[in-house]
Assembly symmetry: C3
Homo-oligomer: 177 residues x 3
Amino acid sequence: MNGLSVGHAQSAGDDERTRSLLLHVEIDRLNADYAAALDERRFDDWPSFFLEDGQYVVQARENYDRGLPLALMALESRGMIKDRVYGVTQTIYHRPYYTRHVVGPARVLAAQEGEGGLVRAQANYAVFRTRPGDASEVYNVGRYLDEIVRTAEGLKFRSRRCVYDSETVLNSLIYPI
Amino acid sequence: MNGLSVGHAQSAGDDERTRSLLLHVEIDRLNADYAAALDERRFDDWPSFFLEDGQYVVQARENYDRGLPLALMALESRGMIKDRVYGVTQTIYHRPYYTRHVVGPARVLAAQEGEGGLVRAQANYAVFRTRPGDASEVYNVGRYLDEIVRTAEGLKFRSRRCVYDSETVLNSLIYPI
Amino acid sequence: MNGLSVGHAQSAGDDERTRSLLLHVEIDRLNADYAAALDERRFDDWPSFFLEDGQYVVQARENYDRGLPLALMALESRGMIKDRVYGVTQTIYHRPYYTRHVVGPARVLAAQEGEGGLVRAQANYAVFRTRPGDASEVYNVGRYLDEIVRTAEGLKFRSRRCVYDSETVLNSLIYPI
């Protein structure tokens, strides 16, 4: 447990460890903010989590594991993401439901320092669905595979890929994962 | 990734970021301690998570979102919370079950520094229920909306509001969320 | 919120708090790495999370709570853990399924400093199962009870005990929890 020890000597290794752990917390916080925006139905906030040319992809695990490009949804820019918000809130007919995202702790796979630096991270998620009058149920589980960039406005997704385990039920996927 | 850099110059912004991230971890730890007390059925420990005049509220999302005061349960002090423990463990007839709380990373919405300072935070939760002889099942999902005060005995809830997504099943709600 | 304040005076208490919180994050990261190895089916990586004489135990809550030694699975060394990997991947006939671990924030119960120091920690988990062509479902929920040692190769389990809430379904338990 070679933690932070301010005031006496501290090795560069401790410093590096501290930076890395704090970055994990920062990604956890980003995931919590993202989940809250969706679960509170603040859909207009959703595009702001992405870079202008950010990507949002929802893909079955089988396709991802085989390297197949086939995806349930692939939005290639913030503009397309905004269009999706419009569809979800204005035009797509669907039976309404609530979502609840419970996200596990993040793994940081690679990290560049400073503004503009890229962080590659992933986290497991479970999304629960509650339809009016029904019990809550497991809806979609999988993992986020993320490319995150540090900007002047905070961390933004260059790419968020939601790789889900089950191929069923998803004809009814309306709200973002 | 402008983390902590002890020994050379560090901006006030880095310092602020570090403080904020550590506070998130501290709230996660509080949530883990709270979940463990309930899931391990240490119900007598439950009131100690609250201030003397602390509130515990369990409320359907629909009522919360509409600003309605109607709640499934509203305990207005540690005394009432202790009474509830007595009811759960001594007087209320119910079929027993285990609970398991899996809580997502916390979001800190506002934070005052120092002892007596108030922290407003939230976190998504999923509670699973296991009845003897049955499989585990999704029981209650939602989010905690918390007002937390730093005291000499650690962080305490001035208010914990459990806002759940589904209105069904809950006639059977016995143990705390 | 007496966080880290580099450059001006900081009490030993702040320092201790910071160390403790960072250790929590480190355990969260270990849990995320462990979950990812299993969920990505990198089963050959699984033994490397344990010490050479590390133990892996899967036990029903009822037996654990009563202090009974009876366990569904008890592997007493990394060698036995490797044998189990061989069984799972090569010899045991079973209907395949995906797993998805969502782990809550860790609680550190005790921590010794420095290399070789022992950390006792626990965390709640939910494992979801997805069979080909089926929806994802709650599979196994419970808590990890861990003894973790800091080695030159990072944190390793001296013992990971998975205490699960439900005794049903588990005749079909194949992959590690």
